[in-house]
Symmetry: C2
């Protein structure tokens, strides 16, 4: 029985992970659950999974939970509590914390686990080299849970041959067919209506701007050391095929599974085995599948993020932070959808390019970019950003 | 440099094989070319590929060729010549002879080659156990060239995990959308208009009746020892995906390549390596792909052939022969398309069920079925089969 820590247990990834574990109680024991603030759902999870440890990052929420918590369960609270929780020894840690705030617990946890099922993109995008260096040093397997990267992991593991190119698919997100001139009037609700995946809010907005797909291309590069020119994107509206590998003789292998995060999570928990605990009877439904070329030119933020990746400096950490801040303003109704791009373009043309020498530099530039982005939006929101474009 | 014998060199598989070899002269040397009657095209191939041996099965045609043949090339003629040709030592033999007449040269050649790239279905369907037993005894690799089986071979080789089920795809053939009541009026031209594959005449008719797909299911069973209940068929009009494997965790791997026999032939020649001699730049075209369930009930010949396969007696050898005879009558305009089914149903309900103890039994029942089928058609053609159903 493997001991599992679930970081972000009440979020989308955390809940799917517990759905998998619920059907596999003989294989996995939930050692610890960690949330930011959602103690209401955490309580239910504690009741069901009886962890030995819980962590609530928001201290106020932690205090509320403490009152009703079974005394046999150890509670960690606040940022320092998260660091202690991350130091617990586990067999597998599921990293479902979103955003760059995953990076610190991830780096600590790498010293205390055998495997990380990693759903977080930002830590890999902003600080991938530090993460993989540490994983190598401590002999930790990092299994990607992000569906496209997970599918590619499955393909690359199976196919030992050289390949010409790998492809990840993009559903196109909620705005695929939205005309450029209509983008400025797109509301929060429309952007959050992702056609195939139910995900967190930020990643859904990132899907609409294709920043998410650029992050995934970076993940592919970092996970598999595949050069950018050999990573393609295909528009695939149905989200059934997640990745394809084209071998040098033009044979193509594809990996399919339903758009349900339980699939890659189950894979990451059981790898190198496979479990039939989720198994359905087979290909029951019809598939109607399309694969279309991705029009890079229509998605300038995709290109911008990859330009940043090729620079190999502090710009990815900065763009990631800037994107998150801009999206929060958009979700709060304070800026328009098209302003996200304007904000990121401004930041990308006004940052001091520097290398990242140590992981602390990532946090430094993250903080710098958040402040700079907020200042820019607050300053411009009454002028440029308020104009009708 | 590998020495290659091409059996059926002027047929569809033979020509595609030589297309592959033409671009890979440094890797393969054409040792011998064998045809039934087409000396016109054989002459061109001799000029281009300078084989050391040629074989012309039709003696009259062989005589015609002899007059103009370079004296340094050894010519084999007739059935006995085919057997001598089959005894030449090669590194790879491409078996592009269609029909059960492939079986004898195949069985001889298994003693004299290291690998057979097998495009012929009938030998496997009618006498698979004899073929695989002999291949095992002589340590010969048989690599399937039939696209679905080849794709499955690629998948099964890559994926070491247990799987729930395998699927081969069917384009549906030329009559997929033809209504049942209209089938009786379908002409030869319509049946030969296959939507995605250019193939020989018999296999194209077999595609329309789904006998071809049943044969492929049998091939899957024989090649990979997969029980029939774990082999599925999916309708896939575009013929881009050839096979899928569903693992026990419901992940699905698929193998794609353009509907061009050069792809599986190149694979079979180079395996376990892969060649980029055919390589194009990547996924250039759009794919619009559909996968739909196969309606077994609509295709009674599919079920009948698989019933025969499950009986494990002489019925497959008989049905194969009967099918070929009926198709020849249909192609000659002497019976209607729907009569193919009537003929096969008659034979399948009027044959003496017996096991196949030795390979000669296959030939015996093949001959028996051809005679019986001809007699039935000739007798019934003026009465039952001429009626309008």
């Amino acid at each position: 029985m493997k001991k599992v820590l679930v970081f972000g247990s009440t979020g989308s990834i955390g809940r799917s992970s517990l759905d998998v574990i619920r059907k596999a109680r003989a294989d996995f024991k939930v050692l610890g659950l960690c949330v930011n603030r959602d103690i209401k759902n955490l309580k239910k999870q504690i009741e069901e999974f009886s962890p030995s440890y819980v962590c609530v990052v928001d201290s106020g929420c932690a205090d509320k939970l403490a009152a009703s918590l079974d005394k046999r369960i150890k509670l960690f609270r606040g940022e320092s509590g998260l660091q202690e929780f991350s130091s617990l020894n586990s067999d597998i840690s599921i990293m479902g914390i979103s955003g760059i705030s995953c990076l610190r617990p991830l780096l600590i946890n790498l010293e205390h686990t055998a495997r990380i099922a990693l759903a977080n993109k930002e830590a890999i995008v902003g600080a991938g080299s530090f993460v993989f260096m540490k994983a190598k040093k401590f002999g930790v397997e990092i299994i990607p849970v992000d569906s496209e990267i997970n599918a590619l992991f499955q393909l690359v593991n199976a196919i030992k041959d050289d390949f010409l190119k790998v492809y990840i698919t993009a559903s196109g997100g909620p705005l695929l067919n939205c005309k450029k001139k209509d983008l400025k009037d797109v509301g929060v609700k429309e952007v959050l209506l992702h056609p195939t995946w139910k995900m967190g809010r930020r990643i859904t907005v990132d899907s609409a701007t294709f920043v998410n797909k650029a992050f995934e291309v970076i993940e592919v590069n970092r996970f598999f050391r595949i050069p950018y020119e050999r990573i393609g994107v295909l528009i695939h509206k149905e989200s059934a095929i997640h990745a394809l590998v084209e071998l040098k003789d033009n044979n193509i292998f594809a990996c399919f599974y339903p758009p349900d995060m339980k699939m890659p999570i189950s894979f990451a928990l059981y790898y190198p085995l496979r479990s039939n605990s989720l198994a359905e009877k087979g290909v029951r439904q019809n598939f109607s599948l399309s694969l279309e070329p991705f029009n890079y030119k229509k998605h300038p933020l995709f290109e911008m993020v990859l330009d940043a990746a090729r620079k190999d400096d502090n710009s990815l950490a900065i763009l990631n932070a800037s994107d998150e801040v801009a999206i929060n303003y958009f979700l709060a109704g304070k800026i328009k959808f098209t302003h996200i791009r304007k904000v990121m373009e401004y930041i990308f043309t006004h940052y001091p390019s520097q290398g990242l020498k140590k992981v602390e530099d990532v946090f430094y530039w993250d903080t710098w970019a958040r402040k700079k982005t907020e200042e820019y939006i607050e300053k411009e929101v009454h002028s440029v950003l308020r104009t009708n474009n």
